[in-house]
Amino acid sequence: MSELTASRSAPTSGRAPGEPAAAGPVRRLGVSTLFIAGLAATVLLAAVHLAQGTSSVDAADLLRLATGRGTDQTAAVLVASRLPRLLAATLVGVALGFSGAALQSLARNPLASPDTLGVNAGAYLAVVAAAAFGLSLPVLPAGGLAFLGGLAAAGVVLVLSAGGITGPTRLILAGSAVALALRALTTLLLLLLFQESTTGLFAWRSGSLIQSDLDAVIQMAPVVLLAVTGSMLVAHRLDVLALGDDTASVLGIDVRRTRLVVVLLAVLLTAAAVTVAGPIGFVGLVAPVLVRLAGSRLPGVQRHRVLLPLSGSAGVLVVVTADVVLRIVLGPQGGVDIPTGVVTTLFGSIVLVWLARRYRDSGPTRQSPGTGSRLRSRQTVTVVAIAAAGATRGGRPGDARRGHLGAHG
């Protein structure tokens, strides 16, 4: 009897929006397999990463150290150079992975990222501007400045794209244009900086993970943790938002406030990453795409409580891989001369081109839920999806536009 009631009430029960009705063991197993596989790959690469560097300390030395037969010098190199670099990579990867996934969901477009929306460029410009005018800021004020810069850039992008009313394409175009302008300004300021501080002529590098102390990582870690927690708390709202603004509003989500919160969190995460390592480009773009690709047969991946942490760990994987490959290909000196950001940007631009070709016609009228749309259509188990099916299928042309107008009105 009770069994019957349960099964009958399942499709219409008052579950929280976005919470799947049937998070079966198979899917949970699939998602956790993906997570564990990613983690294992990261740990493996991290071990290689720790054994790379400009000193002669290699894997054998580190093994000796682990077994208590290492030298003080080896310990110093591990503690004062290798670990800070790995921790910086981890922090930056998590921050950019979360930020990218959140922004892609918000814009309903896989082309969205801290890079293509100008957030990265804005945050970096703010930090460079301070340095160019002779301000040597401690980590937290520098982070605050990066946050303001990223927020200002995001603000300009939103104004230029009229808040995204006309759809994701315009948002991305505005973002790319603003990012280009900001990068040009940064280059000019760097020119100025070279004049002011002559030693910076060859020393200023961008997007490098090399750390001489743990200050930046330690002070930015709580910020990232806070923003990551915040993102997880609004994750279910992002699930609902993916169904369209109209639907989300109908389901009781304050669309405007949710967007604002998510933008603030994404900018905060990006600013933290920029403060630690400079602009490590396109990690925020690539990480969520990798997750969506790897998890394309796992419907549960689309849920933001899964997608966000998976993107975070994919971000770590991307950053560490880029750093490891850089040193394998160009040697330890190459790791100093060439910023890691160059490698991620090269890789990221390839992904960007691939995505742009694949989603050539991703206007608001055809693919409002972005990459998720096709994957999601297989997943018809949630109450929300069933309830929303009519609205999204029937009313898809232009529903994003109306939703936004509603949100702004």
Partner: protein, 332 residues
């Protein structure tokens, strides 16, 4: 189609203003050249061939000269020709103490991007620049004034390049005797320094010369290879440059991080910084760093900070300052 909202226009305009205000190389098309014959300065027409292989013909040795790179400016001042304009006068006063400028030398912008307008207003006989300046900027200036372009430095022959540059500038301003005297003094100081090193029994001692730069939690260290001017001078003094990595082809500088310093043994570690413009990367940036504290030259107190204001990319006067400072540091 929506009309473009006002805020969009404002934002676009603001951005455009900011972007255009940052460029200091203005269009120089409207300016006219005003080199006139028969200025005082002594001597007849001068023709010099610069680093581009171009012949610069002057009716008389130049007296009103603008220097766009500090090494060049130092050369001019040390030859007794006070330039009428210098790129980044304030920076020069911080970094190049060997040959101070008179008050009233005009600032013509930043070194990498001088203001062509400011240059035109000074109406000089000659502008001396280096190959570090982009050719399009050199071309713009050349439309107004003859430009003598020097190679800033050469990692293949660092000391010779420094001497050649002084001689070339001296020819253009008609001060070749002064140049010869300066170079003679330079050679004498170098020989004297080498003697002091030898007397102190330090010949063959390993040394490195470095500077550093802090950005956030990252300290970048720049090593002066034996292709750099002061690296080569150290070798001339009888010391052994312990940094064996390769530098850039002009200034002979190599990049490393604190971990990279572990490849050095117990060397004499020389560095310079400038309190007026930057944080000391070695004292404050690396003070708490475990690697730095474990380095043999740090443990044994073989780290020497050279005085501020010695320009490591300068002419004979700056290099003499370096010789004295380095020898003093090692022998005291």
């Amino acid at each position: 189609m929506r009309a473009t909202p006002i805020p969009v226009l404002i934002a676009t305009l603001a951005l455009a203003v900011v972007v255009s205000a940052c460029g200091s190389v203005e269009d120089a098309g409207a300016q006219t050249s005003a080199t006139e014959a028969g200025r005082d300065g002594g001597g007849g027409p001068v023709t010099v061939t610069d680093a581009r292989g171009r012949e610069i013909a002057l009716d008389a040795p130049a007296t009103e000269v603008v220097g766009l790179e500090w090494g060049v400016v130092e050369n001019l001042v040390s030859l007794g020709v006070m330039p009428v304009g210098v790129a980044d006068v304030q920076g020069y006063s911080h970094w190049v103490s060997a040959a101070p400028l008179d008050d009233g030398v005009a600032d013509v912008g930043i070194r990498g991007e001088p203001s062509v307008d400011a240059l035109g207003a000074l109406d000089p006989d000659l502008v001396v620049a280096t190959t570090d300046l982009p050719t399009n900027i050199i071309d713009q200036i050349e439309a107004l004034v003859p430009v003598l372009v020097l190679r800033g430095a050469s990692a293949e022959r660092p000391i010779e390049q420094m001497k050649d540059n002084l001689t070339l500038v001296a020819q253009a301003v008609g001060r070749t005797d002064e140049a010869a005297a300066l170079l003679e003094d330079f050679d004498a100081v170098l020989a004297e320094g080498a003697q002091r090193i030898e007397d102190a029994g330090l010949t063959g001692t390993g040394f490195v010369m470095a500077d550093g730069y802090i950005q956030g939690s990252t300290v970048s260290i720049r090593m002066f290879t034996d292709g750099s001017l002061v690296g080569a001078v150290g070798e001339e003094l009888g010391l052994e440059n312990a940094w064996t990595g390769e530098g850039d082809p002009d200034y002979g500088l190599a990049q490393t991080d604190v971990e990279g310093l572990t490849t050095l043994g117990d060397v004499e570690f020389l560095y310079y910084t400038n309190d007026a413009t930057e944080e000391n990367a070695f004292e404050s940036g690396l003070a708490g760093n475990a690697i730095w504290k474990s380095l043999p030259f740090v443990v044994n107190g073989h780290v020497h900070r050279l005085a501020d204001g010695i320009w490591m990319f300068g002419g004979p006067l700056s290099t003499v300052q370096f010789v004295d400072a380095a020898v003093d540091a090692l022998t005291s």
